[in-house]
Amino acid sequence: MTLDTLDSDSIDLNNTATNYQISLRNISKVFPGNNNLLDKLTGKTKADFTAIEEIDLDIEHNTFVTIIGPSGCGKSTMLDIIAGLSTATTGTVTIDGQLVDKPGPDRGMVFQNYALMPWMTVKDNIGFAVKTVYPKMPVKQQRRIIKENIQLVGLTGAENKHPHELSGGMRQRVGIARALAINPQILLMDEPFGALDALTRGFLQDEIERIWEQQRKTAIMITHSIDEALLLSDRIVMMTKGPAATIAKVLEIPFPRPRDRTTVENHPDYLKLKQQMEDHLYRETRAVEASRIK
Protein backbone atom coordinates (compact mmCIF):
# COMPACT_ATOMS: atom_id res chain seq x y z
CA MET A 1 0.00 0.00 0.00
CA THR A 2 1.37 3.45 -0.78
CA LEU A 3 1.17 6.36 1.58
CA ASP A 4 -1.50 7.90 -0.61
CA THR A 5 -3.95 5.05 -0.34
CA LEU A 6 -3.27 4.81 3.38
CA ASP A 7 -4.26 8.42 3.79
CA SER A 8 -7.46 8.13 1.77
CA ASP A 9 -8.26 5.01 3.77
CA SER A 10 -8.08 6.87 7.01
CA ILE A 11 -10.17 9.73 5.71
CA ASP A 12 -12.72 7.20 4.59
CA LEU A 13 -12.83 5.62 8.00
CA ASN A 14 -13.28 8.99 9.61
CA ASN A 15 -16.26 9.74 7.43
CA THR A 16 -18.03 6.46 7.94
CA ALA A 17 -17.25 6.03 11.62
CA THR A 18 -18.52 9.52 12.37
CA ASN A 19 -17.93 10.04 16.04
CA TYR A 20 -15.95 7.04 17.12
CA GLN A 21 -12.51 7.55 18.54
CA ILE A 22 -11.55 3.93 19.05
CA SER A 23 -12.83 1.12 16.85
CA LEU A 24 -12.15 -2.57 17.29
CA ARG A 25 -13.08 -4.65 14.28
CA ASN A 26 -13.19 -8.43 14.35
CA ILE A 27 -10.44 -8.70 16.96
CA SER A 28 -9.33 -12.23 17.83
CA LYS A 29 -6.30 -13.40 19.72
CA VAL A 30 -4.97 -16.92 19.47
CA PHE A 31 -2.06 -17.89 21.72
CA PRO A 32 -0.17 -20.48 19.73
CA GLY A 33 0.33 -23.84 21.40
CA ASN A 34 3.18 -26.28 20.84
CA ASN A 35 2.44 -28.45 17.83
CA ASN A 36 5.59 -28.50 15.77
CA LEU A 37 7.35 -31.73 14.98
CA LEU A 38 9.73 -31.54 17.91
CA ASP A 39 6.89 -31.06 20.38
CA LYS A 40 5.04 -34.01 18.87
CA LEU A 41 8.12 -36.18 19.24
CA THR A 42 8.60 -35.22 22.86
CA GLY A 43 4.88 -35.55 23.50
CA LYS A 44 4.62 -32.04 24.87
CA THR A 45 1.95 -30.78 22.52
CA LYS A 46 -0.42 -28.03 23.57
CA ALA A 47 -3.39 -26.92 21.52
CA ASP A 48 -3.71 -23.33 20.31
CA PHE A 49 -5.70 -21.22 22.70
CA THR A 50 -8.23 -18.72 21.42
CA ALA A 51 -8.53 -16.14 24.17
CA ILE A 52 -10.88 -13.66 22.50
CA GLU A 53 -12.82 -14.04 19.28
CA GLU A 54 -14.32 -11.57 16.83
CA ILE A 55 -14.69 -8.61 19.10
CA ASP A 56 -16.24 -5.46 17.67
CA LEU A 57 -16.38 -2.36 19.80
CA ASP A 58 -16.69 1.35 19.14
CA ILE A 59 -15.87 4.01 21.69
CA GLU A 60 -16.83 7.65 21.30
CA HIS A 61 -14.66 10.58 22.32
CA ASN A 62 -14.62 11.56 25.98
CA THR A 63 -16.32 8.49 27.35
CA PHE A 64 -15.35 6.40 30.31
CA VAL A 65 -15.64 2.72 29.46
CA THR A 66 -15.11 -0.16 31.84
CA ILE A 67 -14.63 -3.77 30.88
CA ILE A 68 -15.92 -6.38 33.27
CA GLY A 69 -16.03 -10.15 32.92
CA PRO A 70 -15.14 -13.42 34.60
CA SER A 71 -11.47 -13.75 35.44
CA GLY A 72 -9.26 -15.13 32.72
CA CYS A 73 -11.72 -14.25 29.97
CA GLY A 74 -9.33 -12.03 28.05
CA LYS A 75 -9.82 -8.50 29.34
CA SER A 76 -6.11 -7.82 29.67
CA THR A 77 -5.51 -9.38 26.28
CA MET A 78 -7.96 -6.93 24.73
CA LEU A 79 -6.54 -3.91 26.54
CA ASP A 80 -2.98 -4.87 25.59
CA ILE A 81 -4.04 -5.02 21.96
CA ILE A 82 -5.52 -1.51 22.20
CA ALA A 83 -2.34 -0.36 23.93
CA GLY A 84 -0.28 -1.91 21.14
CA LEU A 85 1.69 -4.03 23.58
CA SER A 86 0.31 -7.16 21.95
CA THR A 87 -0.89 -7.74 18.39
CA ALA A 88 -4.24 -9.21 17.44
CA THR A 89 -4.25 -12.46 15.47
CA THR A 90 -7.05 -11.12 13.29
CA GLY A 91 -8.82 -7.79 13.07
CA THR A 92 -7.81 -4.17 13.45
CA VAL A 93 -7.82 -1.44 16.03
CA THR A 94 -8.08 2.12 14.82
CA ILE A 95 -7.78 5.31 16.84
CA ASP A 96 -9.18 8.36 15.08
CA GLY A 97 -8.96 6.39 11.87
CA GLN A 98 -5.29 5.51 12.33
CA LEU A 99 -4.34 1.87 12.48
CA VAL A 100 -2.79 0.86 15.79
CA ASP A 101 0.25 -1.38 15.37
CA LYS A 102 2.49 -0.34 18.23
CA PRO A 103 2.33 1.39 21.60
CA GLY A 104 2.46 5.15 21.63
CA PRO A 105 2.17 8.13 23.94
CA ASP A 106 -1.33 8.94 22.62
CA ARG A 107 -2.38 6.18 25.05
CA GLY A 108 -1.39 6.52 28.70
CA MET A 109 -1.26 3.25 30.58
CA VAL A 110 -1.85 2.58 34.27
CA PHE A 111 -0.66 -0.84 35.42
CA GLN A 112 -2.13 -3.09 38.11
CA ASN A 113 1.30 -3.62 39.68
CA TYR A 114 2.05 0.14 39.36
CA ALA A 115 5.22 -0.60 37.28
CA LEU A 116 7.14 2.27 38.85
CA MET A 117 10.90 2.27 38.44
CA PRO A 118 12.20 1.57 41.96
CA TRP A 119 15.43 3.52 41.42
CA MET A 120 13.60 6.70 40.47
CA THR A 121 11.92 9.10 42.85
CA VAL A 122 8.28 10.07 42.39
CA LYS A 123 9.42 13.14 40.48
CA ASP A 124 11.82 11.17 38.32
CA ASN A 125 9.26 8.50 37.48
CA ILE A 126 6.90 11.13 36.14
CA GLY A 127 9.83 13.07 34.67
CA PHE A 128 11.00 10.00 32.78
CA ALA A 129 7.64 9.85 31.01
CA VAL A 130 7.53 13.58 30.25
CA LYS A 131 11.11 13.71 28.99
CA THR A 132 10.64 10.61 26.86
CA VAL A 133 7.52 11.93 25.17
CA TYR A 134 8.54 15.61 24.97
CA PRO A 135 12.34 15.55 24.66
CA LYS A 136 12.49 19.00 23.05
CA MET A 137 10.28 20.77 25.57
CA PRO A 138 12.10 23.42 27.64
CA VAL A 139 13.17 22.05 31.01
CA LYS A 140 11.16 24.70 32.83
CA GLN A 141 7.95 23.59 31.18
CA GLN A 142 8.75 19.93 31.82
CA ARG A 143 9.21 20.74 35.50
CA ARG A 144 5.90 22.58 35.58
CA ILE A 145 4.06 19.63 34.06
CA ILE A 146 5.64 17.24 36.56
CA LYS A 147 4.70 19.49 39.44
CA GLU A 148 1.12 19.98 38.22
CA ASN A 149 0.54 16.26 37.89
CA ILE A 150 1.99 15.53 41.31
CA GLN A 151 -0.43 18.11 42.65
CA LEU A 152 -3.30 16.65 40.66
CA VAL A 153 -3.02 13.25 42.34
CA GLY A 154 -2.38 14.74 45.78
CA LEU A 155 1.25 13.74 46.20
CA THR A 156 2.78 17.12 46.94
CA GLY A 157 5.49 16.61 49.55
CA ALA A 158 6.38 13.12 48.38
CA GLU A 159 8.21 14.25 45.22
CA ASN A 160 11.60 13.01 46.35
CA LYS A 161 10.53 9.70 47.82
CA HIS A 162 11.28 6.37 46.17
CA PRO A 163 8.38 3.99 45.44
CA HIS A 164 9.36 1.56 48.21
CA GLU A 165 8.80 4.35 50.73
CA LEU A 166 5.18 4.80 49.61
CA SER A 167 1.99 2.87 50.36
CA GLY A 168 0.24 0.95 47.59
CA GLY A 169 -2.34 3.70 47.18
CA MET A 170 0.31 6.37 46.87
CA ARG A 171 2.25 4.28 44.37
CA GLN A 172 -0.80 3.99 42.16
CA ARG A 173 -1.28 7.77 42.42
CA VAL A 174 2.20 8.07 40.93
CA GLY A 175 1.19 5.57 38.25
CA ILE A 176 -1.84 7.68 37.39
CA ALA A 177 0.15 10.93 37.41
CA ARG A 178 2.74 9.38 35.10
CA ALA A 179 0.06 8.28 32.66
CA LEU A 180 -1.63 11.70 32.69
CA ALA A 181 1.57 13.77 32.55
CA ILE A 182 2.20 12.91 28.91
CA ASN A 183 -1.22 14.32 28.08
CA PRO A 184 -2.51 11.24 26.25
CA GLN A 185 -5.74 11.15 24.23
CA ILE A 186 -6.75 7.93 25.91
CA LEU A 187 -6.18 6.49 29.36
CA LEU A 188 -5.89 2.71 29.63
CA MET A 189 -6.11 1.10 33.07
CA ASP A 190 -5.84 -2.62 33.80
CA GLU A 191 -7.35 -3.25 37.25
CA PRO A 192 -5.61 -0.16 38.61
CA PHE A 193 -6.97 -0.67 42.12
CA GLY A 194 -6.88 -4.47 42.15
CA ALA A 195 -4.04 -4.66 44.65
CA LEU A 196 -5.44 -2.07 47.09
CA ASP A 197 -7.50 -2.44 50.25
CA ALA A 198 -11.16 -1.44 50.11
CA LEU A 199 -10.76 1.95 51.78
CA THR A 200 -7.79 3.08 49.69
CA ARG A 201 -9.61 1.80 46.66
CA GLY A 202 -12.59 4.00 47.47
CA PHE A 203 -10.36 7.06 47.84
CA LEU A 204 -8.70 6.46 44.52
CA GLN A 205 -12.03 5.89 42.78
CA ASP A 206 -13.13 9.30 44.02
CA GLU A 207 -9.86 10.79 42.79
CA ILE A 208 -10.32 9.25 39.35
CA GLU A 209 -13.87 10.58 39.21
CA ARG A 210 -12.67 14.07 40.18
CA ILE A 211 -9.78 14.05 37.70
CA TRP A 212 -11.95 12.65 34.96
CA GLU A 213 -14.46 15.45 35.39
CA GLN A 214 -11.61 17.95 34.92
CA GLN A 215 -10.05 16.38 31.84
CA ARG A 216 -12.71 14.09 30.36
CA LYS A 217 -10.19 12.01 28.50
CA THR A 218 -11.45 8.81 26.94
CA ALA A 219 -10.70 6.08 29.43
CA ILE A 220 -10.84 2.31 29.24
CA MET A 221 -10.60 0.55 32.56
CA ILE A 222 -10.70 -3.11 33.49
CA THR A 223 -12.24 -3.92 36.85
CA HIS A 224 -13.78 -6.74 38.83
CA SER A 225 -15.84 -4.38 40.95
CA ILE A 226 -19.42 -3.70 39.94
CA ASP A 227 -19.67 -0.64 42.16
CA GLU A 228 -16.48 0.79 40.76
CA ALA A 229 -17.78 0.32 37.22
CA LEU A 230 -21.11 1.95 38.05
CA LEU A 231 -19.50 4.90 39.78
CA LEU A 232 -17.08 5.76 37.02
CA SER A 233 -18.37 4.63 33.64
CA ASP A 234 -20.53 5.96 30.86
CA ARG A 235 -20.60 2.51 29.37
CA ILE A 236 -19.87 -0.91 30.75
CA VAL A 237 -18.68 -3.68 28.45
CA MET A 238 -19.60 -7.09 29.81
CA MET A 239 -17.61 -10.00 28.43
CA THR A 240 -18.48 -13.67 28.24
CA LYS A 241 -16.28 -16.35 29.71
CA GLY A 242 -13.30 -17.65 27.75
CA PRO A 243 -12.04 -19.38 25.73
CA ALA A 244 -13.12 -17.47 22.66
CA ALA A 245 -14.58 -14.77 24.85
CA THR A 246 -16.53 -12.00 23.27
CA ILE A 247 -18.72 -9.07 24.26
CA ALA A 248 -22.02 -10.16 25.78
CA LYS A 249 -23.60 -6.78 26.30
CA VAL A 250 -22.79 -3.10 26.59
CA LEU A 251 -24.64 -1.20 29.28
CA GLU A 252 -25.30 2.54 29.02
CA ILE A 253 -24.95 4.22 32.40
CA PRO A 254 -27.22 7.24 32.54
CA PHE A 255 -26.15 8.73 35.89
CA PRO A 256 -25.59 12.50 35.67
CA ARG A 257 -22.13 13.93 36.22
CA PRO A 258 -20.32 14.99 38.29
CA ARG A 259 -21.02 11.91 40.35
CA ASP A 260 -20.49 10.82 43.87
CA ARG A 261 -21.23 7.58 45.63
CA THR A 262 -24.51 8.58 47.29
CA THR A 263 -26.16 10.22 44.27
CA VAL A 264 -25.20 7.25 42.13
CA GLU A 265 -26.58 4.76 44.63
CA ASN A 266 -29.83 6.67 44.91
CA HIS A 267 -30.41 6.86 41.18
CA PRO A 268 -33.58 4.95 40.15
CA ASP A 269 -31.68 2.80 37.62
CA TYR A 270 -28.89 1.88 40.00
CA LEU A 271 -30.32 -1.30 41.47
CA LYS A 272 -31.56 -2.58 38.13
CA LEU A 273 -28.15 -2.10 36.50
CA LYS A 274 -26.37 -3.63 39.41
CA GLN A 275 -28.68 -6.64 39.35
CA GLN A 276 -28.11 -7.09 35.64
CA MET A 277 -24.34 -7.08 36.08
CA GLU A 278 -24.44 -9.44 39.02
CA ASP A 279 -26.60 -11.88 37.10
CA HIS A 280 -24.28 -11.79 34.13
CA LEU A 281 -21.10 -12.26 36.16
CA TYR A 282 -22.70 -14.98 38.25
CA ARG A 283 -23.87 -16.90 35.20
CA GLU A 284 -20.54 -16.66 33.38
CA THR A 285 -18.46 -17.47 36.42
CA ARG A 286 -20.62 -20.49 37.19
CA ALA A 287 -20.15 -21.68 33.61
CA VAL A 288 -16.38 -21.30 34.07
CA GLU A 289 -16.50 -23.38 37.24
CA ALA A 290 -18.68 -26.01 35.57
CA SER A 291 -16.32 -26.35 32.60
CA ARG A 292 -13.40 -26.77 35.01
CA ILE A 293 -15.08 -29.66 36.80
CA LYS A 294 -15.81 -31.54 33.57
Binding site: G84, K102, G104, M109, F111, M117, W119, A129, H164
Partner: protein, 274 residues
Protein backbone atom coordinates in the same frame (compact mmCIF):
# COMPACT_ATOMS: atom_id res chain seq x y z
CA UNK B 1 14.90 -0.70 96.48
CA UNK B 2 14.43 2.74 94.94
CA UNK B 3 12.90 3.42 91.61
CA UNK B 4 16.21 4.52 90.16
CA UNK B 5 17.90 1.29 91.14
CA UNK B 6 15.09 -0.75 89.62
CA UNK B 7 15.55 1.09 86.40
CA UNK B 8 19.24 0.41 86.32
CA UNK B 9 18.71 -3.31 86.88
CA UNK B 10 16.16 -3.44 84.11
CA UNK B 11 18.50 -1.71 81.71
CA UNK B 12 21.27 -4.14 82.63
CA UNK B 13 19.12 -7.10 81.75
CA UNK B 14 18.07 -5.54 78.49
CA UNK B 15 21.72 -4.99 77.67
CA UNK B 16 22.43 -8.69 78.19
CA UNK B 17 19.32 -9.68 76.24
CA UNK B 18 20.44 -7.87 73.14
CA UNK B 19 21.32 -10.36 70.41
CA UNK B 20 24.40 -8.47 69.25
CA UNK B 21 25.79 -8.24 72.74
CA UNK B 22 25.27 -11.97 73.23
CA UNK B 23 26.97 -12.72 69.94
CA UNK B 24 29.91 -10.47 70.83
CA UNK B 25 30.32 -12.16 74.22
CA UNK B 26 30.20 -15.61 72.65
CA UNK B 27 32.73 -14.50 70.05
CA UNK B 28 35.13 -13.17 72.67
CA UNK B 29 34.70 -16.30 74.77
CA UNK B 30 35.39 -18.66 71.89
CA UNK B 31 38.37 -16.56 70.80
CA UNK B 32 39.77 -16.70 74.31
CA UNK B 33 39.38 -20.47 74.50
CA UNK B 34 40.91 -20.89 71.06
CA UNK B 35 43.97 -18.75 71.89
CA UNK B 36 44.40 -20.49 75.24
CA UNK B 37 44.20 -23.92 73.62
CA UNK B 38 46.69 -22.84 70.95
CA UNK B 39 49.11 -21.38 73.47
CA UNK B 40 48.97 -24.45 75.72
CA UNK B 41 49.07 -26.92 72.85
CA UNK B 42 52.13 -25.25 71.36
CA UNK B 43 53.89 -25.04 74.72
CA UNK B 44 53.11 -28.70 75.57
CA UNK B 45 54.06 -29.80 72.03
CA UNK B 46 50.64 -31.28 71.19
CA UNK B 47 50.97 -30.18 67.58
CA UNK B 48 53.62 -30.66 64.91
CA UNK B 49 57.17 -29.70 65.75
CA UNK B 50 57.92 -26.00 65.33
CA UNK B 51 54.29 -24.87 65.73
CA UNK B 52 54.56 -21.33 67.14
CA UNK B 53 52.66 -20.22 70.20
CA UNK B 54 49.73 -17.80 69.99
CA UNK B 55 51.66 -15.13 71.86
CA UNK B 56 54.59 -15.32 69.45
CA UNK B 57 52.26 -15.10 66.46
CA UNK B 58 50.50 -12.07 67.94
CA UNK B 59 53.86 -10.44 68.59
CA UNK B 60 54.79 -11.02 64.96
CA UNK B 61 51.47 -9.62 63.86
CA UNK B 62 52.14 -6.51 65.91
CA UNK B 63 55.61 -6.22 64.43
CA UNK B 64 54.30 -6.43 60.87
CA UNK B 65 51.45 -4.06 61.47
CA UNK B 66 53.82 -1.48 62.94
CA UNK B 67 56.63 -2.07 60.38
CA UNK B 68 54.80 -2.81 57.16
CA UNK B 69 57.12 -1.01 54.76
CA UNK B 70 60.78 -1.87 54.40
CA UNK B 71 62.73 -3.04 51.43
CA UNK B 72 65.80 -5.28 51.60
CA UNK B 73 65.45 -6.70 48.12
CA UNK B 74 62.76 -8.94 46.62
CA UNK B 75 63.21 -11.77 49.14
CA UNK B 76 62.95 -9.52 52.17
CA UNK B 77 60.19 -7.05 51.41
CA UNK B 78 57.87 -5.62 54.08
CA UNK B 79 54.38 -7.09 54.20
CA UNK B 80 52.85 -3.70 53.35
CA UNK B 81 54.73 -3.59 50.05
CA UNK B 82 53.65 -7.11 49.26
CA UNK B 83 50.06 -6.24 50.06
CA UNK B 84 50.23 -3.22 47.75
CA UNK B 85 51.72 -5.34 44.98
CA UNK B 86 48.90 -7.88 45.31
CA UNK B 87 46.27 -5.17 45.42
CA UNK B 88 47.72 -3.49 42.35
CA UNK B 89 47.62 -6.73 40.35
CA UNK B 90 44.07 -7.37 41.46
CA UNK B 91 43.04 -3.80 40.66
CA UNK B 92 44.43 -3.89 37.13
CA UNK B 93 43.23 -7.40 36.25
CA UNK B 94 39.84 -6.86 37.83
CA UNK B 95 39.30 -3.53 36.09
CA UNK B 96 40.18 -5.02 32.70
CA UNK B 97 37.78 -7.90 33.35
CA UNK B 98 34.94 -5.62 34.47
CA UNK B 99 35.37 -3.25 31.55
CA UNK B 100 34.93 -6.24 29.25
CA UNK B 101 32.37 -8.20 31.26
CA UNK B 102 29.78 -5.49 31.98
CA UNK B 103 29.23 -4.23 28.41
CA UNK B 104 29.48 -7.75 26.98
CA UNK B 105 27.03 -9.01 29.59
CA UNK B 106 24.59 -6.23 28.71
CA UNK B 107 24.88 -7.04 25.02
CA UNK B 108 24.40 -10.74 25.57
CA UNK B 109 21.54 -10.17 28.01
CA UNK B 110 19.62 -7.91 25.65
CA UNK B 111 19.60 -10.35 22.76
CA UNK B 112 18.12 -13.80 23.38
CA UNK B 113 19.94 -15.06 20.29
CA UNK B 114 23.31 -13.83 21.55
CA UNK B 115 22.52 -15.32 24.95
CA UNK B 116 21.91 -18.76 23.49
CA UNK B 117 24.82 -18.50 21.07
CA UNK B 118 27.49 -17.44 23.57
CA UNK B 119 26.26 -19.25 26.64
CA UNK B 120 28.16 -22.49 25.83
CA UNK B 121 31.50 -20.61 26.04
CA UNK B 122 30.62 -19.10 29.39
CA UNK B 123 29.36 -22.36 30.78
CA UNK B 124 32.46 -24.22 29.66
CA UNK B 125 34.97 -21.67 30.91
CA UNK B 126 33.24 -20.75 34.17
CA UNK B 127 34.10 -23.92 36.12
CA UNK B 128 37.78 -23.95 35.05
CA UNK B 129 40.17 -22.90 37.81
CA UNK B 130 41.90 -19.71 36.67
CA UNK B 131 45.23 -21.26 37.72
CA UNK B 132 44.86 -23.63 34.81
CA UNK B 133 45.53 -20.58 32.63
CA UNK B 134 48.89 -19.92 34.29
CA UNK B 135 51.04 -21.75 31.73
CA UNK B 136 49.12 -20.09 28.89
CA UNK B 137 49.73 -16.71 30.51
CA UNK B 138 53.43 -17.36 30.96
CA UNK B 139 53.69 -18.62 27.40
CA UNK B 140 51.80 -15.64 25.98
CA UNK B 141 53.41 -12.85 27.99
CA UNK B 142 56.73 -14.34 29.13
CA UNK B 143 56.45 -12.03 32.12
CA UNK B 144 55.27 -12.87 35.61
CA UNK B 145 53.68 -9.47 36.27
CA UNK B 146 51.52 -9.55 33.16
CA UNK B 147 50.67 -13.19 33.78
CA UNK B 148 49.42 -12.32 37.26
CA UNK B 149 47.19 -9.61 35.85
CA UNK B 150 46.01 -11.98 33.12
CA UNK B 151 45.08 -14.68 35.63
CA UNK B 152 43.11 -12.18 37.70
CA UNK B 153 41.29 -10.91 34.62
CA UNK B 154 40.36 -14.45 33.59
CA UNK B 155 39.27 -15.28 37.13
CA UNK B 156 37.06 -12.26 37.60
CA UNK B 157 35.38 -12.04 34.22
CA UNK B 158 32.85 -14.88 34.53
CA UNK B 159 30.73 -14.00 37.57
CA UNK B 160 30.32 -10.40 36.38
CA UNK B 161 29.50 -11.47 32.84
CA UNK B 162 27.09 -14.12 34.00
CA UNK B 163 25.25 -11.93 36.51
CA UNK B 164 25.09 -8.95 34.16
CA UNK B 165 23.63 -11.04 31.34
CA UNK B 166 21.17 -12.66 33.72
CA UNK B 167 20.11 -9.33 35.22
CA UNK B 168 19.62 -7.71 31.84
CA UNK B 169 17.73 -10.69 30.42
CA UNK B 170 15.38 -10.76 33.41
CA UNK B 171 14.44 -7.10 33.76
CA UNK B 172 10.83 -6.89 34.99
CA UNK B 173 8.73 -6.89 31.83
CA UNK B 174 6.41 -4.22 33.22
CA UNK B 175 9.31 -1.70 33.19
CA UNK B 176 9.81 -2.50 29.53
CA UNK B 177 6.08 -2.12 28.90
CA UNK B 178 6.20 1.35 30.46
CA UNK B 179 9.09 2.24 28.22
CA UNK B 180 7.28 0.90 25.15
CA UNK B 181 4.00 2.69 25.88
CA UNK B 182 5.95 5.94 26.15
CA UNK B 183 7.56 5.25 22.80
CA UNK B 184 11.09 5.43 24.24
CA UNK B 185 13.93 4.76 21.82
CA UNK B 186 16.02 1.61 22.14
CA UNK B 187 18.99 3.53 23.54
CA UNK B 188 16.90 5.38 26.06
CA UNK B 189 15.33 2.11 27.18
CA UNK B 190 18.75 0.50 27.58
CA UNK B 191 20.35 3.35 29.52
CA UNK B 192 17.39 4.59 31.53
CA UNK B 193 15.55 1.35 32.22
CA UNK B 194 17.45 -1.86 31.50
CA UNK B 195 20.83 -0.95 33.00
CA UNK B 196 19.46 0.63 36.21
CA UNK B 197 17.07 -2.31 36.62
CA UNK B 198 19.93 -4.78 36.22
CA UNK B 199 22.32 -2.81 38.42
CA UNK B 200 21.75 -4.89 41.58
CA UNK B 201 22.66 -8.02 39.62
CA UNK B 202 25.65 -6.33 38.00
CA UNK B 203 27.00 -5.25 41.35
CA UNK B 204 26.53 -8.63 42.95
CA UNK B 205 28.42 -10.10 39.99
CA UNK B 206 31.21 -7.59 40.58
CA UNK B 207 31.23 -8.55 44.24
CA UNK B 208 31.60 -12.27 43.52
CA UNK B 209 34.32 -11.48 40.97
CA UNK B 210 36.26 -9.45 43.51
CA UNK B 211 36.03 -12.30 46.02
CA UNK B 212 37.39 -14.76 43.48
CA UNK B 213 40.14 -12.38 42.33
CA UNK B 214 41.33 -12.05 45.91
CA UNK B 215 41.28 -15.83 46.37
CA UNK B 216 43.19 -16.45 43.19
CA UNK B 217 45.89 -13.80 43.53
CA UNK B 218 47.43 -15.51 46.56
CA UNK B 219 47.66 -18.87 44.80
CA UNK B 220 48.98 -17.32 41.60
CA UNK B 221 51.65 -15.30 43.39
CA UNK B 222 53.13 -18.37 45.00
CA UNK B 223 54.34 -19.21 41.51
CA UNK B 224 55.07 -15.69 40.29
CA UNK B 225 57.33 -13.94 42.86
CA UNK B 226 56.46 -10.88 45.03
CA UNK B 227 53.01 -10.21 46.47
CA UNK B 228 51.33 -11.74 49.53
CA UNK B 229 51.23 -15.20 47.97
CA UNK B 230 54.96 -15.11 47.38
CA UNK B 231 55.51 -13.78 50.89
CA UNK B 232 53.78 -16.88 52.27
CA UNK B 233 55.75 -19.12 49.97
CA UNK B 234 59.00 -17.44 51.02
CA UNK B 235 58.23 -17.87 54.70
CA UNK B 236 57.48 -21.52 54.04
CA UNK B 237 60.94 -21.85 52.48
CA UNK B 238 62.34 -20.15 55.58
CA UNK B 239 60.20 -22.52 57.66
CA UNK B 240 58.93 -19.60 59.73
CA UNK B 241 55.31 -20.42 60.49
CA UNK B 242 54.29 -17.30 62.53
CA UNK B 243 54.66 -15.04 59.49
CA UNK B 244 52.51 -17.39 57.42
CA UNK B 245 49.77 -17.21 60.04
CA UNK B 246 50.07 -13.41 60.18
CA UNK B 247 49.75 -13.18 56.41
CA UNK B 248 46.69 -15.44 56.37
CA UNK B 249 45.11 -13.13 58.92
CA UNK B 250 45.93 -10.03 56.88
CA UNK B 251 44.63 -11.59 53.66
CA UNK B 252 41.38 -12.33 55.47
CA UNK B 253 41.03 -8.78 56.80
CA UNK B 254 41.68 -7.21 53.40
CA UNK B 255 39.19 -9.65 51.84
CA UNK B 256 36.53 -8.53 54.32
CA UNK B 257 37.18 -4.86 53.55
CA UNK B 258 36.95 -5.42 49.79
CA UNK B 259 33.74 -7.40 50.20
CA UNK B 260 32.18 -4.79 52.46
CA UNK B 261 32.79 -2.07 49.89
CA UNK B 262 30.65 -4.04 47.46
CA UNK B 263 28.09 -4.89 50.10
CA UNK B 264 27.69 -1.14 50.62
CA UNK B 265 27.28 -0.55 46.87
CA UNK B 266 24.69 -3.32 46.71
CA UNK B 267 22.74 -1.65 49.44
CA UNK B 268 22.88 1.68 47.60
CA UNK B 269 21.14 0.25 44.53
CA UNK B 270 18.70 -2.15 46.19
CA UNK B 271 15.84 0.36 46.79
CA UNK B 272 13.87 -1.63 49.29
CA UNK B 273 14.41 -5.03 47.65
CA UNK B 274 15.69 -7.99 49.74
Amino acid sequence: MTAVQKNVIKKDNQFLDNENVKALLLFLLSLGIFLLFWEMGAKLKWFAKGMPTASLTIQELWYWVTHPFYNNGPNDLGIGWNLLISLRRVAIGYTIASVIAVPLGILVGISPVAFKAFNPYFQLLKPVSPLAWLPIGLYLFRDSELTGVFIIAIASIWPTLNNTAFGVANVDSSYLDVSRTLGASRWRTIFKVIIPAALPNIISGLRISMGIAWLVIVAAEMLLGTGLGYFIWNEWNNLYIPNILVTIFIIGIVGIILDQIFAYLEKLVSFGKK
